[in-house]
Symmetry: C2
Subunit: 273 residues, 2 copies
């Protein structure tokens, strides 16, 4: 029988805790910390190496179907006490399953982006729930890839990973600190580039022809897209609203914009733009 | 100068704390607890009486534009210490502005619902962030009203109120413990009633004619709509997805469904269904 870790001073627990708390530590190590049986299993099955797996004795029974799908060296599997699960968890009632996984794609620069497809570009998104939700929706709608521009929050934080259901492990993810330059690159590759703005004078998203390759840029929750990025986009686009315009959060706006982008692409698509 | 409350044992602080924590206490008192300058001001301006207002000395300066819009009897305005703000807050870095407000509509039974329009019906939604986000989107898209069916989480919890940006104060909100019967009522009033299901054999949302009055039923995050409710709906509707179907959360699905519902209604609308 395995030893049950009950001390916060245990080295594996310390590593897990630091990965859960610090974005810079995650980047330095190239590792992230995952919470939840399904998320841990999904990450493992997406081809990301699981470096360590933690579970409580209770969780080992309850979530055994997920746990058995996670490939992890036997000597990197740790049984933890409930108090350690509570300590490591970001949720109030943790399932008691956690893992440490490689971060994929950290070196994916925009130069490697495919020359066609439909991309979501997120600029300075602050809220990890919004970021995660947008990635999750992007995956559901078959978006080709996501560009993180400017200073987005960390897509590998426990909160963003949970909100995204691990979509970041399965999407093509690219980073660009300089979003205006990224938009110029997309323009020169022949993409239509759209800046999503809450401005009734912009083009309605329902009037846009999304049949070609396109990039939808979505900006910061409070301040929107930076003016220098807007200037590089070929068109400004807005979601026509009959109610209060400010009453659409970033992830709901992203869902509607990606939906419209992909709406007419399917066989038998019904977009009329 | 006003006295600064620094004790958790203060009666007003105790009342606020209980309202923030207990749904049944909120119902009993007909009051809710609001956090955040904008939310407190919005609720007050939506016509809901503010029964008490709390702020820290710092917040009084920083958020004075919001605070001055809140009508509240002078003797119900309390200046609180930062430690009390942290105690009452549901967020990690609270702004330091809180209020106690009447809960509107608690007695709005479905019998009072308008005979036409476009409604969102939420059944057994568990997550207050999802519930709030759906209400916020409903308001943005000009949905006529929202029906809470079955056992939805409390729309007046601090988390749901924040996610909803107080949309619940401005939307027509109705409750029905018996959702199948509510759907039957809508049917008999001539509404088209739709059950949103993650089922590729259901009608595509893009193929639906939403020109008349309609009700979109959205179910529990894990289990979907109850079978007895689905049976009463005239049609089952789904969002066609090219990616992983399970990768769309309840509030993103609600956003897309409401968007499609309202898409063709505007003058010059472009819905073709």
């Amino acid at each position: 029988m395995r030893e049950i870790i009950a001390s916060r001073r245990n080295d594996h627990v310390k590593l897990a805790y630091c990965l859960s708390k610090s974005s810079s530590f995650r980047k330095k190590k190239g590792l992230c910390f995952l919470e939840g049986a399904r998320l841990c299993a999904d990450a493992a099955m997406s081809g990301n190496k699981t470096r360590a797996l933690f579970f409580t004795p209770k969780a080992e029974i309850k979530y055994k179907d997920y746990i058995m799908r996670i490939k992890c060296p036997e000597d990197k599997i740790y049984v933890i006490d409930q108090s350690i699960a509570d300590y490591l968890a970001d949720t109030k009632n943790p399932q008691g399953v956690f893992s440490i996984s490689d971060i994929p794609y950290t070196e994916n620069k925009l130069s490697g982006v495919p020359r066609s497809g439909n991309f979501l570009a997120l600029e300075n998104i602050q809220n990890p729930d919004n970021l995660g939700a947008a990635l999750r929706t992007a995956e559901a709608f078959g978006i080709s890839g996501v560009v993180f521009g400017g200073a987005c929050c960390d897509a590998y934080s426990p909160k963003a990973l949970r909100a995204g259901m691990g979509a970041v492990f399965r999407l093509g993810v690219y980073t660009s600190a300089d979003m205006p330059s990224a938009v110029r690159d997309f323009n020169s590759m022949g993409f239509s580039t759209f800046a999503a703005v809450p401005d009734r004078s912009a083009l309605k998203v329902t009037d846009i022809d999304f049949r070609g390759s396109s990039v939808m840029v979505i900006g910061n929750e409070g301040n929107g897209i930076m003016p220098e990025t807007v200037r590089e986009c070929k068109k400004c686009v807005t979601i026509p609203m009959s109610g209060r315009a400010e009453s659409l959060n970033a992830s709901a706006a992203a869902a509607v914009l990606m939906w419209e982008m992909m709406r007419g692409k399917e066989a038998g698509g019904v977009n009329d733009g």
